[in-house]
Symmetry: C2
Subunit: 240 residues, 2 copies
């Protein structure tokens, strides 16, 4: 009997595929915040009945990237500057905790994986693939949460990462300029490889690694515009 360990086979329900499709559409910004999801239309587009689609939407509502109002519809969550700020501040706390848990568990496999993900970010940056750049950067940051061996922390992080990805995608789509070429994750990776845990934690708490300041400024500017134009966000709601 060989000691080969197989990976679990893929979920073969329509529901699971719909969840993946919708999540991707939302996180990449193809579905904009506030936008209403018309069940009939989406179901027809996907060649699927409404039952699995509705179940998928229920999952994404609980995942925090959709919101549902009975008999009115299901919408992509609206993003406010406060939401971003809240998410970011909690993120810092979780990072600090994850570093603490991960620290003594670091080994060669950890360092290798860290380099691998770091390299993926750099490659996406070189390719000017902004969507992938966001994705890989979050995966790089997610490693400490995966490695921390705390399932509840990991779940929490993944929920948070979904939103962060959405926020950044939103931001990237808004600004037309190319992404920064320099490597902003260099320090982060170096500290995680080092021997000073406190320094790594401090970096997580203090350093704006993911361009958050710019993201926040963008969100605030959006709200300025919205408050001037009365209920602009509502008016902008489109149907898919």
């Amino acid at each position: 009997m060989g000691k080969l360990d197989f990976a679990p086979i893929a979920d073969t329900t329509r529901r699971a595929e719909i969840v993946a499709l919708l999540r991707r559409a939302i996180l990449t910004g193809q579905l904009e915040p506030g936008q209403k999801l018309n069940e009939l239309r989406i179901a027809e587009q996907m060649r699927v009945s409404r039952a699995p689609l509705r179940e998928a939407m229920r999952e994404l509502v609980q995942e925090g990237i959709l919101t549902s109002i009975p008999y009115a519809g299901t919408f992509v969550i609206d993003v406010t500057a406060k939401d971003i700020d809240d998410a970011y501040s909690l993120n810092k706390v979780l990072d600090e905790f994850a570093i603490e848990l991960t620290w003594r568990l670091r080994d060669q496999r950890f360092f290798d994986e860290l380099d691998r993900r770091h390299e993926a970010v750099k490659q996406a940056t070189r390719n000017l693939d902004t969507t992938r750049q966001i994705e890989t950067a979050l995966q790089l940051h997610g490693l400490i949460h995966e490695w921390a061996d705390n399932s509840v922390l990991l779940e929490t992080w993944q929920r948070l990462a979904s939103r962060l990805q959405m926020y950044f995608a939103l931001h990237q789509r808004a600004r037309k300029e190319p992404v920064p070429a320099e490597d902003i994750h260099e320090t982060y990776v170096r500290l995680l490889k080092g021997s000073d845990m406190r320094a790594a934690q401090r970096h997580a708490r203090e350093h704006i690694d993911l361009d958050f300041e710019e993201l926040l400024a963008y969100a605030r500017s959006l709200e300025q515009r919205a408050s001037k134009g009365a209920k602009a966000t509502v008016a902008n709601r489109q149907q898919i």
Copy 2:
């Protein structure tokens, strides 16, 4: 125009009521960990079709208290000692963060609400209503998260609190002895009213306020038993 603020009217979908019913059943321990939820049977019992029931179950899966295996069924999550430990250690981190955020926002209304919830715990304790005691204790601890004015933190706490409630309910049902009569929350409340934030945070991090040690010991004993009887947890799976 009066400045009366109305509460949102109740959700009138079957789905929402089913979610509430199921959640209550799980958190009070009426549905045991590992137990399978038979859709047809539950739907008949609730006089509801499977569609809203399934949607409700999808929500609870994402909420983390149910788990689903395609074409096999949906089960109440299994509880391991590690799960409890993970949840508790994250809980401490979140508490510390919540205290930091709440601290400068404390006002008379906060203190009043703190006392009100504290009183509710004491009353449930006097009445020997263990289920309600757990519920009120978690509501007491939840106040700092509600007050912190960070929506992401609050969401995260609520997910965590669901699990904690489930764990404690499990424990309480197992031990036949009456609950402790003394008031273990006295110090917690006093520190939250005081002026030393660090002390309050230290208390949250160090003091075992919610009988966690005993809960952990119980969970570990369960696993001891399980490992002896091979796959006892699976064998014990009952249908509702």
